[in-house]
Amino acid sequence: MEQILHFFFINKETIFIIALSVFLGIEVISHVPSVLHTPLMSGANAISGVIIIGGIILVGHADTSRLSMELVLGILAIIFAILNVAGGFVVTDRMLEMFKKRKTRRA
């Protein structure tokens, strides 16, 4: 019990953020029409590429004087993450473009 309380107090701000973000996520997404399930999923998928910031921090402070395993894997992490980000947003935009195109035709 004491260990748990200790853990909570030290990380209290973060735990607050998690708890509130979960509710925020549920609130923001609920009642989404099924037409938008795919673009929503794909757009959210692109946001999960936010791990790129981690990659930038890693490689940003890595030792570049020699080609270490850490450097190579870090660069790979950045490439993977940006694939997720760029590909994700572009694919989502392409899907939504189709919805848009049809709309103007009807109007």
Partner: protein, 480 residues
């Protein structure tokens, strides 16, 4: 930027650090607002743009303003390396996303999800050696980011292979136990590392083993799941990638990463629950119990006869109807028949027929699959009707045309309590006055159960590839 603004808890902070945190706040708000806009058809495109803007902002300010614990910024050599990596990734991602066919969209989404998971896995692996083994919380988030990222990566790659038709389903009764054992081992190893103490270098072997186990679990966990369960798995994997990114966010105490990741995790979880509801199954049931192997269906009670229709019969039937409902399924996507389907629809509309599409939430292989597919073929949004709204109209429907759908119209879900799909909400096609079924062959649906709709007296079958069948039907109607 290096000007010291003040102190917080005794540690001085600079103007740059304050601006960096402020930019993370703006990025996080853009994620939330973008996602909010994404859930309305009118504003969706703008929402996607805002979220992308938030990402760009977070990346830029990190690159320019981030400092390590010694207060050093990112050296110019590293900046150049990072920019090169970002450039390469962006170009590849952009080309993939632009070139891909709309019908291959589920694969693409899975693939991008896999790369995000891989990035989280790598960040977890690389940060472990820097972890303080006595800081329980720190080690926990590092390991969770690694494990969840690895599962999301290998799982999504398998999902990608399945959707692309490169990998088949492997189902065996033994798999359930192997997976459970693997999951327990992975958790046990994580717990061991958590309390191992000492220095991280001593535990490198365990870290590699943990990575390997997680990757293997991802593969084996997705392997037996397929077909109609794909939308559930894809949204679940999506939410895992978000959670993995959030875990990595804790390592750096980066609020933008934490909020973005959790937001995606929560959104993905909701979508997963929605998909499960649409099948009246629990998530556990989808993951553990593969279709077909459970439930004692009262199959074979009366086999019934399948009655084939000629194209001219079908053409006349459709042309002289008032209300036609098309039920698209995965078969439409596989045959890439959405454009011909649209042609049929406009042709009939020209004859004064009211044509609508009935969309089942889990039709296809990802959430909303049919909507995207039909949108590509320019089918107006207003013509797509959700299951609950179309069902009351079914008795007044002259012809229901089922294109490559099976389980979502199987009346056994209502009539046969012993059926594996018992209780799953279906499109009540059996209530229509006439039923036309386009089907590749006489085989069963993904669930491997008989569909008594096909042997219904009102039903006529059109066998063959959906695209070719539709083309023949269209030319037949034109020649009437």
């Amino acid at each position: 930027m290096d000007q010291i603004l003040g102190t917080l808890d005794g540690t001085p902070f600079t103007r740059g650090e304050a601006i960096l945190e402020l930019s993370y706040l703006i990025a996080a708000l853009l994620f939330v607002y973008g996602l909010k806009l994404l859930s309305h058809p009118e504003t969706a495109r703008r929402g996607n743009f805002y979220a992308a803007g938030g990402m760009l902002l977070g990346m830029l300010t990190t690159l320019l303003l981030h400092k390590n614990s010694n207060g050093q910024g990112i050296p110019i050599t590293n900046v150049l390396i990072i920019l090169t990596a970002i450039g390469i990734g962006t170009v590849i991602g952009w080309i993939f996303a632009r070139r891909i066919k709309m019908t291959a969209m589920p694969q693409m989404v899975s693939f991008f999800n896999a790369t995000g998971g891989a990035a989280s896995m790598l960040v977890g692996m690389l940060e472990f050696p820097n972890a303080d083994m006595n800081n329980l919380g720190g080690v926990l988030v590092t390991l969770l980011g690694l494990v969840i990222g690895a599962i999301a990566f290998s799982g999504s790659m398998i999902a990608y292979g399945k959707l692309d038709g490169k990998i088949g389903d492997i189902r065996s009764g033994l798999m359930k136990y192997v997976n459970l054992l693997l999951l327990i081992t992975t958790i046990a190893l994580t717990v061991y590392l958590l309390f191992a103490g000492g220095i991280p270098e001593e535990h490198t072997w365990a870290l590699y083993l943990l990575t390997a186990l997680s990757l293997l679990y991802g593969v084996l966990f997705v392997m037996p799941i397929g077909g109609a369960d794909m939308p559930v798995v894809i949204s679940l994997l999506n939410s895992l990638t978000g959670i993995a990114a959030a875990m990595a966010g804790f390592i750096y105490s980066n609020q933008a990463m934490i909020l973005g990741g959790i937001l995606v995790g929560a959104a993905g979880t909701i979508l997963t629950v929605l998909m499960c509801k649409a099948m009246n199954r629990s998530l556990l049931n989808v993951i553990i119990g593969a279709f077909g192997s459970t439930g004692s269906s009262s199959a074979g009670k009366d086999e019934g006869i399948l009655k084939e229709a000629t194209f001219s019969d079908a053409a006349i039937l459709l042309s002289y109807s008032q209300n036609v409902v098309i039920v698209p399924g995965y078969g439409l996507a596989v045959a890439q028949a959405q454009h011909v389907c649209r042609e049929l629809d406009t042709l009939l509309a020209g004859k004064g027929v009211n044509v609508r599409y009935a969309i089942h939430p889990v039709a296809g292989r990802m959430p909303g699959h049919m909507n995207v597919l039909l949108a590509e073929a320019d089918v107006p949004y207003s013509q797509l009707v959700e299951m609950d709204s179309i069902n009351p109209d079914m008795p007044n429907t002259d012809v229901v045309v089922i294109i490559g759908a099976n389980d979502v119209v199987n009346p056994a879900a209502i009539t046969d309590p012993g059926s594996p799909i018992a209780g799953m909400p279906i499109i009540r096609a059996f209530e229509a006055k006439n039923i036309l079924v386009m089907k590749r062959g006489r085989g069963k649906g993904y669930a491997g159960i008989e569909n008594e709709l096909f042997t219904n007296d009102k039903t006529r079958m059109l066998y063959g590839n959906a695209k070719e069948t539709l083309q023949k039907l269209v030319s037949e109607i034109k020649s009437l």
